[in-house]
Symmetry: C2
Subunit: 262 residues, 2 copies
Amino acid sequence: MAARRRAKTVASKASSSNKALRLHGSIARDLGTRIVSGRYRSGHVLAGEVEASERLHVSRTAYREAVRILAAKGLVQSRPRTGTRVSSPEQWHLLDPDVLGWAFSGDPEPEVLHGLFELRSIIEPAAAALAAVRRSQTHLDVMRRALDDMILHTLNSEEGRIADKRFHGALLRATCNPFIISLTNGVTSAVHALTEFKMRGAALKRDPSPDHVRVYDAIAAKDAKRARAAMEELIRLAIMDTPMKERPKYSAKSRFLPELEE
Amino acid sequence: MAARRRAKTVASKASSSNKALRLHGSIARDLGTRIVSGRYRSGHVLAGEVEASERLHVSRTAYREAVRILAAKGLVQSRPRTGTRVSSPEQWHLLDPDVLGWAFSGDPEPEVLHGLFELRSIIEPAAAALAAVRRSQTHLDVMRRALDDMILHTLNSEEGRIADKRFHGALLRATCNPFIISLTNGVTSAVHALTEFKMRGAALKRDPSPDHVRVYDAIAAKDAKRARAAMEELIRLAIMDTPMKERPKYSAKSRFLPELEE
DNA sequence: ATCGGCCTACTTCTCAGACAAATTCGGACG
DNA sequence: CGTCCGAATTTGTCTGAGAAGTAGGCCGAT
């Protein structure tokens, strides 16, 4: 008994860096990270439940619940007799906040970075245009406060980044489109993580608050066209502020893209 | 023992209409459907594991795995002492294929329908433009074959709808952006379900294949601008072909939108 | 009287071991 | 040579027992 308890504690420490995650949660995170980072390739068959749970010094129950989580996020698929195998990347729910977080836990690859920005530059300008039309006064107030906090603290502090997140969140909620809101829940948290990533090098050179103010003004004026343009500019500048090793050229070959079978 | 086995079979039949879902899968689906359909309101606390599993005549294990799935999709959150409670709608992963499917299992509300089309009309034209630039010959071939099948079978048959799905899927894969691909995995299956929904009334009046051909031609010609315009038109027409009771006016009040707290 | 820290009860979490169900693979048989 | 059936293997489900975490009340101190 005592030996097993100790083992469990060790496993928990080794696997999860911290947080209030339960055992199954940490296991899911570990496996998930290994999958999205490419250490377990698509098609790879995980060890059987008995062996895997023994190796991790946890019960089959805990391990199974972890696998259920991964399956719910499209990362694996399990069937009797064949076992649990890593799904093809095109089936991964990449916009799931957890998956996104796992993908950004190491060094995000330039390809992923660029893909995310590309998605943002599609969604957010359109969202800004919608928000300009549909925003209520309450939405506007929330954005205003977030903007003030952001200007006050700047993106170099954690509080400033949270304010930035609040701003984008409120903007997207103002679209009144549940899908856009849900979509951007994931994206904003990734951007949050990303901003931290930007900071790993040096402090931010450019102050992005003027861009945000322009977006805010346009939405306050209910000017959809201007809101869209301002947001396009904001994201264009944000991309330029992000240190990317190289601009990835899009090709059909990528860990994240499926094979095209004839 | 025998009594319990029988009970389990009954529960399985009663809960899941069919499919190769396991027990935990059907339970997750039932609970999930109840949540997204509003029968369990946000904040509602589910019965404890013991009571719930007894009521469903299943083991706690199965019930717990179901809850784990729902938690992975952001529908619920469970903690010791307080129990498992339905999360706020803004935390739901609405673009998860399962959640989307559950949302469309009953009568999809006009608001949801419109929200989905709005998202499509943002994403897909942009995707078409990207695809026009980045598509490989292989992408093009796949799209061509899907298009031919679609024209052959028409959307009135299941095969035709699958071909339509293949077409949109190939188009989105041609963007070479993993996030867009992942995003639209969900959306296309929802559209698939939706097309079936359209058919519940009468057969489709308009033949949408010319629209698809125009999109294809533009992508074949690598003409991004024309591809975007053609796709915009395609979706505009698809919206008009969808019977919606009323055009929902966007307001801050909706089951799917969070309260704006001051 | 209000604030802070313990304590308790309640719920989920984890464990262990057993049996059931599903599916693949290979071999027997027509 | 094809078809079917059985066996082996893997996940799926069940049971029952503790362990761990947490909200809310209790109590004491300031």
